[in-house]
Amino acid sequence: MIQLSYLDYSATEGKSWLHRLSPKWKIIGMAFVLSAIVTVRSLPGLLLLYAILLGLFFLSRIPLKIFSLTLYPLIFAILFIFISGFQIFFILLVFVKVLCGSTGVVLLLATTPYPSIFRILGRFLPPLFVTALFLTYRSIFILLSIFEDTQHALYLRGGFQWRNPWRSLINISNAFGHLIIKGMEGSERMYESMVIRGFKNKIYYRGE
């Protein structure tokens, strides 16, 4: 998840044609990918879609570091294969669907700044929900910066060691407890500054 900040950096600093393309068209494209994933049950058809998405990924010059994010959901797909009784066709179908979906969304997020996505979502979702989405996304980065400081403290207290699992669990839990408390204090400060700036249940984006 530390790669999130890198994903955000790629979306705002990238200069490829896909970065420059209107977010509206990219979301329409993602909807097309999604409908293909839902309706297509042909393995070659899905492989073709995956090849197109991979092509777009590399043409957009998205850093390779981000590519690992697209493979992450496979960890869970492995669990799901047990339901099929190890049917190779079904397993491949599920895996390619997973890869198409994750590559599509990572491609969207790595080429489109999140405020642009939330602005479009705000046209058909309740403002309160979109505001919650925006605040969560913002909070992830606040918590990540707190987490970086906490990591040093964790390291000094022994960090995570397989040889001492109980100590490690206490360290991880204390880190999360620390994150929650600091996050809550941060959320109070954030709310106060938002109210001072005229926040009234809705976040307005540039151009609105």
Binding site: L43, F82, A132, T136, I170, G183
Partner: protein, 242 residues
């Protein structure tokens, strides 16, 4: 474990559409119980807790495909109405990072919010009975996760006929796909083999889930104790504390 880590296109259309409808209905009903002003005021807090849940989801224990959810502790701190909106937001953000499909956001919200809402209810109940933080938190987390895992298995089970239909799609579609077919394999035997085995799925998920429930229970206990030490007001336990 309670999260449905299914990709888009695996669950039947009616199931994920129903998931969205029920989630939206439930969200609307629950939001009626919260004052608008209170909701606006607690929105940054909701954002922070949702962000902590997203970060928790990144702590992956690969051998058992388990990640920390933090839904129960978030439910205890936020209350039932806000945790529902929180889980909805978490699932949208996770889906945007490829962690769970976009079409299953509604179903994931329902299963994950079971964890948050029941976690809150069980915690209040056990706290009233036991008056001790550690057992109340552990039991609330364990039972809430058990409930949500079984609801996830129920959701997966509802799509059984759809999976069988998908398995029988081999060779159909845009192009003929014969590379993996074995020559001389009787058709009847192959059809018999292509049956969904939900029992095998449960046999894998429940033991792994059990490890996850215990682990999440221990982590939630330790987090709640840490919060209790530094900011006991957040847990809203009243005067008596343990």
């Amino acid at each position: 474990m309670s999260h449905i880590h299914l990709p888009d296109g695996v669950l039947p259309f009616w199931l994920w559409i129903s998931g969205f409808i029920v989630a939206i209905l439930l969200g609307t009903i629950l939001s009626r119980f919260t004052k608008r002003e209170d909701l606006t005021k607690r929105l940054p807090l909701l954002g922070m807790m949702a962000a902590a849940m997203v970060l928790g989801a990144s702590v992956e224990i690969v051998p058992i495909a388990y990640h920390v959810n933090l839904t129960v502790i978030s439910g205890i701190l936020l209350g039932p109405s806000l945790i529902f909106l929180g889980t909805f937001v978490v699932n949208v953000i996770l889906a945007l990072f490829g962690h769970g499909g976009i079409t299953v956001i509604g179903l994931n919200t329902l299963t994950l919010s079971i964890e948050g809402i029941f976690g809150y209810v069980f915690f209040r109940l056990f706290w009233k009975i036991l008056r001790r933080l550690t057992p109340a938190t552990f039991l609330a987390t364990f039972l809430a996760l058990l409930l949500s895992t079984f609801s996830m298995i129920g959701v997966v089970g509802l799509g059984t006929s759809h999976y069988e239909e998908m398995m029988h799609q081999e060779g159909k579609g845009i192009f003929e796909f014969n590379l993996l077919k074995e020559k001389g394999d009787p058709h009847q035997t192959r059809v018999a083999e292509k049956e969904v085995d939900l029992n095998r799925f449960m046999a894998i998920v429940i033991p792994l889930g059990f490890i996850g429930w215990v682990l999440e229970g221990v982590i939630t206990v330790l987090i709640s104790r840490y919060i209790h030490k530094l900011k006991p007001d957040l847990l809203r336990l009243g005067k008596e504390t343990a």
